[in-house]
């Protein structure tokens, strides 16, 4: 667009047109400058960051190099955000502000818009001339837009080789340097060996009860991991071992998912609702509803024996409404894929409808078996979850370079116990919580009395905490009691160490003492 000089100097409208042309040119220039700027920043910053992310993902090292990954991600996000920011449409005023900032023209764009285009006098023309002169000056053309991109580009050029080499030279957070001393490494090695020994024993104990094929697969992984345990000359915190741990966790997940489901876990409530309407079946229904499948199995078995004796008079009658509800549930079971449970219910339904004690007894027996299977599945799930958690804790501790906790025997959990309950109360299935001793708060309140006394004397304040260990509740088993007392004492010692000003060496001595006397550390304890 070309305006004659005389025209541009005389009329505001001509000034406006001239100014618009000027601003249009400047905007195009800013856009071109931004393109160059993004080329530098994008090609030399974002692309290496993307390369790093892809490389780390391919190597499976994302978790080990979180700071680097975070830095690369932030770079990418920043680049993306700045690139997209200009897609937001702005008002003319904002655009002029942006021009002012980007072109290094303090308020010149504003003055041009607000004065130069309205004021036909010498002042308005002078402002427009200043803007034009500035935008066409050699200095400005040289400085903009490369002045912004040049430092960024130079910095990026220096950083590029560093970014590319980073994956190969960056210290791993789980290598030998992360483990502070050789003593810690030795101790961790012992812990690992100890953990696998305990697991070996646990495997032998549970082998008969677990599905043979699944357990053998799991044993294979255990043995493989044991074979890959580092020798004394090697660093135990090896990347391969951590990967092996991770694979084992995944495998445990798969095992857990493949444990055969009977359908009782989902449909126990509905089954209990229907069974409760039968005379004499209330206790079995109650056990089913509360999820105590061992107890439910016993009670269903007892009902089955009762019917097997031929006492057909005791077969409860089934109303039409009940029959309809049973059939609905059987359909739901089939839709959910629990064919075995559906067949047992169907047989039961037929037996009740026909008053056939033998058929009813057979159906009750099959339901009892299914309840037994469900109870056992729960045990297996709990055991797997416990092992998985132990693996995960160990792997994470190794990755952080921390000292490993002493391995815990999974057989000590009630959920893992091969012995069944006594048939009363919650039974064995209730012990699936993480704490093998049950709720510690309730347990402490029931069995121990704790008093806290304060005294003020000339020697200063003192505090006495008295724990009465005389059991005020029912007697508990020897192992549980020892464990409980040990945990309590250890907790008290830890609290005291935390709260009192005790020399470091003494703290360590107390901690070692409790490690030495921890029950279950001696293999004889388990025999």
């Amino acid at each position: 667009m070309t305006l004659s000089e005389s025209e541009s100097a005389r009329t505001p409208s001509a000034n406006r047109a001239r100014w618009d042309a000027l601003i249009g040119s400047a905007r195009r220039r800013v856009a071109a400058g931004r393109a160059v700027d993004y080329f530098y920043r994008g090609a030399l910053w974002a692309l290496p960051a993307l390369y790093l992310l892809c490389l780390f993902s391919a190597l499976g090292l994302m978790a080990g190099r979180l700071p680097i990954v975070a830095a690369a991600s932030i770079t990418l996000l920043w680049w993306g955000a700045t690139a997209l920011r200009f897609l937001i449409p702005g008002s003319r005023r904002q655009a002029l502000h942006a021009l002012d900032r980007n072109l290094g023209l303090p308020d010149l764009a504003l003055a041009g818009d607000e004065v130069g285009t309205r004021d036909p006098s010498e002042w308005g023309r002078s402002i427009l001339d200043s803007a034009l002169e500035r935008l066409e000056s050699t200095d400005w053309a040289r400085d903009w837009p490369l002045s912004r991109a040049r430092p960024a580009g130079a910095l990026a050029l220096v950083a590029l080789p560093a970014l590319v080499l980073l994956p190969f030279v960056s210290p791993s957070s789980f290598d030998a340097d992360a483990l502070e001393t050789a003593e810690t490494r030795d101790r961790n090695r012992e812990r690992l060996v100890e953990m696998y020994e305990i697991w070996e024993q646990a495997a032998e104990t549970f082998e008969e009860q677990w599905a043979e094929q699944e357990w053998n697969a799991f044993r294979e992984y255990l043995e493989q991991a044991a074979r890959e345990l580092p020798s004394a000359d090697e660093d135990p915190a090896q990347r391969d071992l951590l990967r092996q741990f991770h694979r084992m966790e995944t495998r445990l997940d798969e095992l857990n998912a493949r444990l055969p489901a009977t359908g009782l876990e989902t449909f126990a409530g509905e089954l209990a609702n229907r069974a409760r309407r039968m005379d004499g079946w209330e206790s079995a229904a109650s056990a089913l509803e509360s999820g105590h499948f061992h107890t439910a199995s016993d009670r269903l078995q007892a009902l089955s024996r009762n019917d097997t004796n031929g006492n057909s008079a005791e077969v409860p009658s089934l109303s039409d409404e009940d029959l309809e509800r049973w059939e609905e549930m059987i359909e739901d079971l089939r839709e959910a894929g629990h064919e075995e449970l559906a067949e047992a219910c169907e047989l039961l339904c037929d037996g009740l409808k026909e008053g056939d004690a033998a058929k009813t007894a057979a159906a009750l027996s099959r339901l009892a078996q299914l309840a037994q299977s469900e109870a056992f599945r729960e045990q297996q799930q709990a055991a797997l979850a416990r092992m998985q958690r132990q693996l995960r804790d160990t792997r994470e501790a190794m990755a952080r370079g921390e000292q490993l906790a002493r391995a815990e025997d999974p057989r000590r959990s009630p959920a893992m116990s091969p012995d069944r309950g006594d048939g009363e109360g919650d039974g064995i299935g209730s012990g699936t919580s993480d704490n093998p001793l049950g709720d510690p708060a309730a347990w402490t309140a029931e069995y121990f009395t704790e008093t806290l006394e304060g005294r003020l004397s000339d020697e200063g304040e003192s505090e006495t905490r008295t724990i009465s260990l005389e059991p005020s509740g029912p007697e508990h088993t020897g192992t549980g009691s020892t464990d409980a007392r040990f945990d309590l004492y250890e907790q008290l010692s830890r609290e005291t160490i935390d709260n009192e000003d005790i020399p470091l060496a003494h703290r360590e001595a107390v901690r070692r003492y409790f490690q030495e006397i921890r029950p279950g550390t001696d293999e004889d304890d388990h025999d």
Binding site: L3, E5, D113, W123, E133, A141
Partner: protein, 343 residues
């Protein structure tokens, strides 16, 4: 990457550009002339000369011996203006400044009262230690500073133009002093705090003032030229946005307004008067010309914000108890506004 601009005029604006260039040259000459005597204190010199070209009065505050009086005397010498000096003391009366009517007997039966002009009838008045004058005398300056006239027994007498009051005061001594009332403080365009010279400047001062050499200053220009420069500066256009920012800056000092910052709300009792906004733009216009601009930019408004506002806002008791100073408060305000308007 270079763009081709097709609408560039073949020549710029000679009359205006030459006038602005002449303005800058004169200012530079004046500053150089003052610099022959005054060592350092460049910001103070620039601000004082800016105030003169704006037609405003200046209050210089500083401990004794920093060259406040010398600066004003030097400026007076460099300008071909009538100069008066009044050393204020508690017994100086208004009539000593304004003048009085004297009885003149020209013969038997022929006598008259004639107005004898006081030192106010000058172009440049140096009011030394102005805070030693009594409030009555200080208030005699009010009309002169704002209206450029004095009224004596009902007769109004116009002062000479241009008319500037360049006053000094010592912040250390409180005995026998009368703090200037807010109404009078408001009439000063700038209140400049004269700082102690740097080591290098101090050495230079010692070298210049301990020998026999005397510096004779040549008058650079006269009152008419100052008037012309002042009129030229007043013509500098102000973009709407910049004018709005000047108003916002002043409104920000008012704790009761929505513009006030939390710190202003906490520390300020009364904000600046509208004269502060006028002063920001008038001083900004002079500064714009000196920076080679034909419009007032935001930085011109902010440049003299502290000397314009620091004697126009009143701190509350809480701020005084906390040791908050007006200068600190305004420095922070200017930084904040600069960030806000440049972001």
């Amino acid at each position: 990457m270079k763009m081709i601009m097709t609408d560039r005029p073949t020549e710029s604006n000679p009359p205006l550009e030459s006038a602005l260039e002449d303005f800058r040259n004169k200012f530079s000459t004046l500053r150089d002339e003052v610099g022959k005597v005054i060592v350092g204190q460049q910001e103070i010199v620039d601000a004082t000369l800016t105030a003169i070209l704006t037609g405003g009065h200046v209050l210089l505050e500083g401990v004794p011996g920093l060259g406040k009086t010398l600066l004003i005397k030097t400026i007076a010498q460099a300008l071909d203006l009538k100069f008066s000096r009044v050393q204020f003391t508690p017994d100086v009366m208004p009539a000593d400044l304004v003048g009085t009517k004297v009885f003149i007997e020209e013969g038997p039966g022929n006598a008259r009262f004639e107005f004898s002009r006081g030192p106010l009838f000058t172009n440049l008045l140096l009011g030394d230690e102005i805070n030693r004058a009594s409030p009555k005398t200080q208030s005699a300056l009010l009309e002169a500073m704002q209206e450029r006239s004095v009224t004596v027994t009902g007769d109004t007498h116009l002062l000479d133009t241009p008319f500037f009051v360049l006053a000094t005061q010592n912040p250390l001594e409180h005995e026998g002093t009368y703090p200037l009332p807010e109404a009078q403080l408001d009439r000063f365009l700038f209140k400049l705090n004269v700082a102690y010279p740097t080591m290098e400047e101090f050495e230079n001062i010692l070298a210049r003032t301990t020998g026999t050499a005397e510096t004779n200053l040549d008058p650079v220009f006269d009152g008419k030229q100052i008037d012309a420069m002042t009129r030229l500066a007043l013509q500098v256009p102000v973009p709407d946005t910049v004018r709005r920012r000047a108003a916002e800056l002043v409104m920000t000092t008012h704790p009761e307004t929505e513009y006030a910052t939390p710190e202003i709300r906490r520390c300020v009792r009364f904000g600046a008067s509208p004269r502060a906004g006028q002063a920001c733009l008038r001083a900004g216009k002079v500064r714009a010309i000196l920076r080679g601009r034909s419009y007032v930019a935001t930085e011109d408004v902010l440049a003299y914000a502290v000397p314009i506002l620091n004697h126009r806002i009143l701190l509350n008791f809480e701020a005084q108890a906390d040791g908050v100073t007006t200068t600190d408060l305004l420095d922070e305000l200017v930084r904040e506004k600069s960030r806000e308007w440049n972001s």
